[in-house]
């Protein structure tokens, strides 16, 4: 009689303290970037902000199954809040970031409560319309937002009174990285909580969730509000690190781009944002410089290929590869015993 013994998992072999240290390693590596590649801090900061934004979107698209083409509305809401506050004298970065989160959350609550009753194409259109509405309001309220000219005169006092924002971008770099880390811990805890699991349930089969007594509408609104707050935070960070806010942060283009970045990495898989965003932004940095047409072409082909061949994004591909390896190992294990 043969017994199949699974090879010892990593967890059993290595003490957990070292595991935790290993998990921190990538973060430390990234934090050391300014030493390795000076001059890239602004781009890296942009990447951190976008990852945060993509994480907030993942909560909706990947976990709750709510597809939105208007998430930039909340991002821009946060950005303009922080920017407008700073222009009118409230310049502490952390305070304005919190205010941005609150305002974005309120906006999300207002729109979400109205929109989330619908599904499918209608919901998609509503999310688009909501973002466009905010865009046009910002466009016209030039006294407040600067309209097409963008919000001039945005500046913030040093973080915690110690680290000033300069055009070299070092402060912005560490500040955004820290924020991203905190949000990451929070999101990870959220999706592994019972609440997070109920979201997955709602995404897969909401009729059944209702049958077991889950208040799905309430859950959807809650996750929408949380996601909006995080998106608003990303927007505020953007405003603070670039000392500028422009209409682009409310645009449909941004909503589309962030969705693509997320799907590229793989939605519903916590780390999808971390892979998709850098991949997208570095590809963009490389290709768009030569000729914008090349970038559009490349982006389009990648998208089509993604949809037809690899719906799980890069992480999806990785998972499939690992699956194949695992299955082969088990098969070999059978043969050996």
């Amino acid at each position: 009689m043969t017994t199949v013994s699974a090879s010892p998992t990593v967890h059993e072999v290595v003490p957990s303290a070292i595991i935790r240290l290993l998990k921190l390693l990538p973060w430390l590596l990234v934090a050391a970037l300014p030493l390795a590649l000076p001059g890239y801090e602004p781009l890296a900061t942009q990447v951190f902000v976008m990852i945060l934004f993509a994480l907030s979107l993942d909560l909706l698209v990947g976990y709750a199954g709510i597809v939105t083409l208007g998430h930039a509305g909340l991002f821009g809401m946060g950005g303009y809040t922080a920017g407008i506050f700073s222009v009118h004298g409230i310049t502490d970065p952390i305070a304005t970031a919190v205010c941005a989160m609150i305002l974005a959350a309120v906006t999300g609550l207002m729109f979400g409560a109205a929109m989330l009753r619908t599904k499918g194409l209608t919901l998609l259109m509503l999310t688009m319309a909501s973002a466009f509405l905010l865009y046009e309001i910002a466009n016209k309220a030039t006294g407040l937002t600067g309209g097409e000219d963008g919000l001039q005169g945005v500046s913030f006092t040093p973080v915690l009174g110690l680290f000033a924002f300069d055009f070299r971008g070092k402060t912005a770099f560490f500040y955004s990285l820290a924020a991203l880390f905190i949000v990451f811990i929070f999101v990870r805890a959220l999706i592994n909580s019972p609440f997070g699991w109920s979201l997955r349930g709602i995404r897969e089969n909401d009729a059944r969730m209702v049958a077991i007594g889950c208040p799905i509408m309430q859950r959807r609104i809650i996750v929408y509000v949380i996601s909006s707050a995080l998106a608003g935070l990303a927007g505020a960070l953007q405003a603070q690190s670039t000392q500028f806010v422009a209409l682009y942060s409310l645009s449909f283009e941004l909503s589309g781009n962030i969705l693509i970045m997320l799907i590229l990495g793989g939605s519903g898989r916590l780390y999808g944002a971390f892979i998709g965003v850098p991949a997208f932004m570095f590809a963009q940095d490389l290709l768009a410089k030569q000729d914008p047409a090349n970038w559009y072409l490349g982006q389009g082909i990648i998208l089509i290929a993604l949809v037809m061949l690899a719906p799980g994004g890069i992480l999806g591909i990785a998972e499939r590869v690992i699956d194949v390896i695992k299955r082969r190992r088990v098969r070999n294990g059978h043969r050996d015993s």
């Binding site: 109205a114 194409l121 319309a129 509405l133 466009n139 047409a293 559009y296 389009g300 998208l303």
Partner: protein, 271 residues
């Protein structure tokens, strides 16, 4: 009116195949490019160039449906959205490479320029022609869908594809043909509207929102819905710009938002 022409094709394809096709604007753009190129480079008169353009684009639509779109019918909305968005990007790039990044100039034939006097009102001839075309199209479409066998088959296939197939209707060919029709209509709208919605590589990205709005508000799968929607939105938008220019485009999106909440399936639901 141009919005209607382009959007009705989208309503047909989206309602018919249940496919969220963001790339519809691409076909309108191609129709525009075809028309303009035939006119400018080969000196072909406007209407003829327009017709050739429509036929060519419809053929392209037919081919694309058979080769690419059909694989994505069962997939989630998200996948369809991403796919069609990718299609937009690819075509934007190809068009830019072929025709350059600048907008295409178009010279309308003289009979479409200037103004026409009707009952004391001097109206721009071009706008009148567009309205006329729109009316002709809606009449034609209604005829096709309501009165012909082809139309009946399409309606059957939309209502219940499996049933339609079981009584011998070749739904695959039908869908491809309908898709061709939809894209041909888009090309018509693009070519006709080339003066107002300028033909440039970024065309599909700039105007996709408006097409989607007309379709979503009008309701999928029917012909009258988008017509009513386009008319209402167009009129309301024009009135708003005349009386309250400070409001800009705010109105149109607020309006759409409210309508969609009130009637999630569009103003004129199918049943």
């Amino acid at each position: 009116m141009i919005l209607y022409l382009i959007s009705v094709g989208l309503s047909v394809t989206m309602g018919l195949m249940g496919f969220v096709n963001l790339a519809h604007g691409v076909f309108a753009m191609l129709g525009g490019y075809a028309t303009v190129t035939f006119m400018n480079r080969f000196g072909i008169p406007f209407l003829l160039a327009l017709t050739i353009g429509c036929v060519l684009v419809a053929a392209l639509g037919f081919v694309l449906e058979r080769t690419l779109y059909r694989y994505l019918y069962g997939r989630s909305e998200l996948d369809q959205v991403l796919f069609s968005f990718g299609l937009i990007l690819v075509s934007v790039a190809l068009v830019r490479i072929a025709w350059g990044p600048l907008a295409q100039p178009i010279q309308l034939p003289d009979y479409l320029r200037g103004r026409v006097n009707i009952l004391d009102f001097a109206l721009p001839a071009y706008r009148l022609a567009l309205v006329g075309f729109g009316a002709a199209v809606i009449a034609g479409l209604w005829f096709v869908f309501d009165r012909t066998l082809f139309g009946a088959r399409i309606r059957a296939a939309v209502d219940n594809r499996a049933m339609a197939q079981s009584i011998g209707i070749d739904t695959n060919r039908l869908f491809a043909a309908a898709f061709g029709l939809g894209t041909g209509l888009a090309a018509l709208g693009g070519g006709l509207g080339a003066d107002v919605l300028a033909i440039s590589p970024t065309y599909p990205l700039q105007y996709i929102v408006y097409f989607l709005i007309v379709v979503a508000v009008g309701g999928l799968g029917n012909i009258k819905g988008p017509f009513v929607a386009a008319l209402t939105i167009g009129l309301a938008d024009t009135a708003c710009r005349y009386f309250l220019p400070e409001a800009g485009s705010i109105f149109i999106f607020a309006f759409v938002f409210v309508v969609l909440i009130w009637r999630p399936n569009g103003i004129m639901e199918r049943r």
